[in-house]
């Protein structure tokens, strides 16, 4: 199609290669196009797209590839299908800890295994998905650049008097006799068009009216927004720009936020359920959470931060009741409510030592699970803490060990010293929880000593439980302002391009007959209504639909 083309128009204008309609008068240039009578192809106003060239080099070929809307649509469709496949099974990123090597096969069988092995279990992080996005981004840049510049040029140097063929082959056309004096009638049309907020240019009895040209830039603006957005997403990979960590803090505890100088305290965690009278009958009695809130205090370390011999010096910088839709924000950090664990865990007990022979009790003494004191003076007796196991169990060799570092089944071994006991003390094993005491047969372990002494908690008042653990998600997203900027430009462009319509009306009078052609990039219905209304006000009554020249081209 590009091999032969006479690019000089009969009006004398020299057009670039690839031009469809003469840049100056609008006459169709291609032979086939000129011979037809169907409505014109008005895309980019018939200007040559930048990439069309007679003798393409390799760079031109690459450029042309990305400049093609057909390719762009294919890229969109492939991305769409890949995204669909990625939703078939749960993605790896949805789990906090699991083994993908076995999970997909166990849960979904051979098809799950195949899914995992082909990399679809992390579709959106694969190199090929990223490649698709990169190609779409390239296409956005190249397509836009190739079209916006010629379009801009074409629209900024428009001729008022257009070729008869150009007018006759618009989608909205009116031909008829002039009412009264031609000059006066055109002046009246101009007035009417101005009333409809058209910008009007006149050359004698030829007229060009135009409005909302800016809407033509909408698509390009939204493409720019998308590019800014994608670049901002890329920025997230700059070290330090995006941080994502989780902190599980028990009520009353203060923990350092990893890799920062900040410490976070969980003052109080609140979990509220809806009361029955707030619930409809169908849901009464079913717990329905109303509020998860962590009252948190953020500290900054001001001194002794890395000295293991000293406690860090903390200074409060922020306080916030963190709830699900309201994170704490401070200096680029955002702290979100993520989860909680309110399984009751022992924090401390206050047991007494009972001398079974005399019936006397000594104590109570405070026995903390996490950081117990090592010596307890109880009347004539001394308890020396020898060892402790937070989650007591026996290993294969029959040695005591701890299964975890959570106080699920705490056990303590004391050396009991005092009158009537061996010099070095005698070992006494103590399980604070009654259930463990029975399970591991405390009395049998302690043997004869169990008949003489007992360590026990006299009442429930002597038991304190650790507070709820609140899991908080700590984030830094330095790229966020750029991401929102890109998003704003994008959505602005989308609205601009969609809700305003570029409308143009050309008119010329030859030998007492009006020839009017009108073009819009979309909403021909509105275009025809505009033309019909102007004609009507200037004395020509036409049905809007009758202006339709057929040919559904946009």
């Amino acid at each position: 199609m590009l091999s032969f083309q006479n690019t000089k128009c009969e009006c004398g204008h020299q057009n670039p290669v690839g031009t469809v309609l003469c840049e100056s008068c609008g006459k169709p240039l291609e032979e086939a196009e000129a011979a037809s009578t169907a409505p014109l192809e008005m895309r980019y106003d018939g200007a040559a797209r930048r990439s069309q060239k007679t003798n393409p080099s390799i760079i031109d070929r690459v450029w042309n590839f990305f400049s093609s809307v057909k390719i762009a649509v294919w890229l969109i469709v492939i991305t769409l299908i890949a995204s669909m496949i990625g939703t078939i099974f749960t993605q790896e990123s949805a789990f906090i800890s699991f083994d993908p090597d076995t999970y997909y096969e166990e849960k979904y069988g051979w098809i799950g295994k195949l899914y995992y092995e082909l990399g679809f279990s992390h579709t959106y992080e694969t190199w090929w998905f990223t490649t698709l996005i990169v190609m779409i981004a390239t296409s956005l840049v190249v397509c836009s650049l190739d079209r916006v510049l010629p379009l801009y040029k074409a629209l900024s140097k428009q001729q008022v008097r257009k070729h008869v063929q150009f007018l006759k082959r618009q989608r909205t056309v009116y031909e008829g006799a002039v009412v009264g004096d031609a000059e006066e009638w055109v002046a009246e049309v101009e007035q009417q068009l101005k009333r409809k907020r058209y910008k009007v240019k006149r050359e004698g009895t030829a007229l060009l009216a135009e409005k909302n040209r800016f809407s033509r830039w909408g698509p390009y603006i939204n493409h720019i927004g998308l590019i800014v957005f994608l670049l901002a997403v890329l920025l997230r990979s700059v070290p330090g720009w995006a941080m994502d960590s989780y902190l599980a803090i028990r009520e009353g505890e203060t923990l350092q936020i990893p890799e920062t100088n900040y410490y976070l305290k969980n003052e109080k965690f609140t979990l509220d359920y809806y009361a029955d009278d707030e619930l409809p009958d169908e849901l009464k009695g079913i717990p329905r959470p109303k509020l998860y809130q962590t009252d948190a205090i953020l500290y900054e370390c001001t001194a002794d931060c890395d000295d293991p011999l000293k406690e860090p010096v903390l200074e409060e910088v922020s306080q916030h009741g963190i709830i699900v839709n309201d994170p704490m924000a401070y200096g680029g950090l955002k702290i979100y409510q993520f989860g909680y664990d309110d399984t009751p865990k022992l924090a401390a007990v206050k047991p007494v030592l009972v001398d079974k022979t005399t019936g006397k009790t000594y104590g109570p003494f405070e026995l903390s699970m996490r950081n117990p004191q090592l010596n307890y003076e109880l009347g004539p007796y001394t308890l020396e803490l020898h060892s402790k196991y937070l989650d007591f169990a026996m290993d294969e060799k029959g040695e005591p060990r701890t299964k975890s570092d959570e106080p699920n089944a705490p056990a303590f071994i004391f050396m009991l010293k005092g009158p009537g006991l061996a010099e070095d003390g005698e070992p006494y094993m103590y399980f604070p929880r009654q259930i463990d005491k029975e399970k591991f047969s405390q009395d049998a372990i302690n043997g004869d000593l169990a008949n003489r002494f007992e360590i026990k908690v006299p009442s429930m008042e002597g038991v304190t439980f650790a507070g709820t653990v609140s899991t908080l998600n700590i984030r830094t997203e330095m790229a966020m302002p750029y991401i929102w900027t890109g998003t704003a430009i994008w959505i602005f462009g989308v609205f601009l391009g969609s809700y305003w319509h570029h409308r143009r009306i050309w008119l010329r009078i030859d030998e007492g007959r009006v020839l009017l052609g009108a073009h819009t990039n979309k909403n021909f219905h509105g275009m025809r209504a505009d033309v019909a209304s102007v004609l009507k006000k200037t004395g020509i009554d036409v049905e809007p639909k009758s202006l339709d020249n057929g040919g559904n081209r946009a």
């Binding site: 930048r50 760079i59 031109d60 690459v62 450029w63 992080e125 694969t126 190199w127 998905f129 990223t130 490649t131 996005i133 990169v134 190609m135 981004a137 390239t138 840049v141 190249v142 650049l145 510049l149 670049l231 890329l234 990979s237 960590s245 923990l255 350092q256 990893p258 890799e259 890395d306 000295d307 293991p308 011999l309 996490r370 950081n371 117990p372 090592l374 803490l385 020898h386 060892s387 402790k388 937070l390 989650d391 290993d395 060990r401 701890t402 299964k403 975890s404 570092d405």
Partner: protein, 178 residues
């Protein structure tokens, strides 16, 4: 505009190649081992309280072949591998090699750690990682995890899971050769 056209095209395509290549490369070489430091890098610096109530810094061990072992008494494979480390420690130090083992305990109290040290007769350095800060800094997610650091201060190997004496011996031999 025409004469700048070629330049524009080249500039844009190079930009795409650089930025796009970076994005794709990142996806292609994303590590699956989470946040662990890379082999050949220097491990992050730390300062921790030792069993001897002194502060110990990573930089104190510069110039020595170093094994850093993250462990806890609550983790059975850690308990099983400890005697193996002790035997290795005795073997190499008795030969006068510039070699150290650091056991970093994951947030347990001194009573628990001291009892354990006594029970197994451990003589290598024991440090307390209160609040598991250093564990987070090292990106350790499962225990035990052991780092082998060359005398020049770079990581030679990272081993996740319990080790046998043979496993350790092979690596320490290589460490001392470097």
């Amino acid at each position: 505009m025409g004469k700048y056209r070629k330049t524009t095209q080249i500039v844009i395509l190079i930009g795409v190649l650089l930025l796009g290549g970076y994005a794709i490369g990142k996806a292609l070489f994303a590590s699956d081992d989470g946040g662990l430091p890379k082999i050949g890098e220097k491990p992050p610096e730390f300062a921790l309280l030792g069993e001897d109530q002194e502060a110990h810094k990573l930089s104190d061990y510069e110039g020595k072949a170093l094994v850093i072992n993250f462990w806890g008494t609550f983790c059975p494979p850690c308990v099983i591998e400890t005697p193996e480390f002790q035997r290795q420690y005795e073997k190499w130090t008795s030969m006068g090699k510039p070699f150290e083992i650091i056991g970093i305990n994951l947030g347990e109290d001194s009573l628990t750690v001291r009892n354990f040290v006594q029970q197994y007769g451990l003589t290598y350095e024991m440090l307390y990682d209160k609040g598991r800060k250093i564990m987070a800094k090292y990106g350790v997610e499962s225990f035990p995890t052991t780092f082998f650091v060359k005398p020049d201060g770079t990581i030679m190997d990272i081993f996740v899971g319990g080790m046998t004496e043979e496993d350790i011996d092979k690596r320490v031999t290589k460490l001392l050769q470097s």
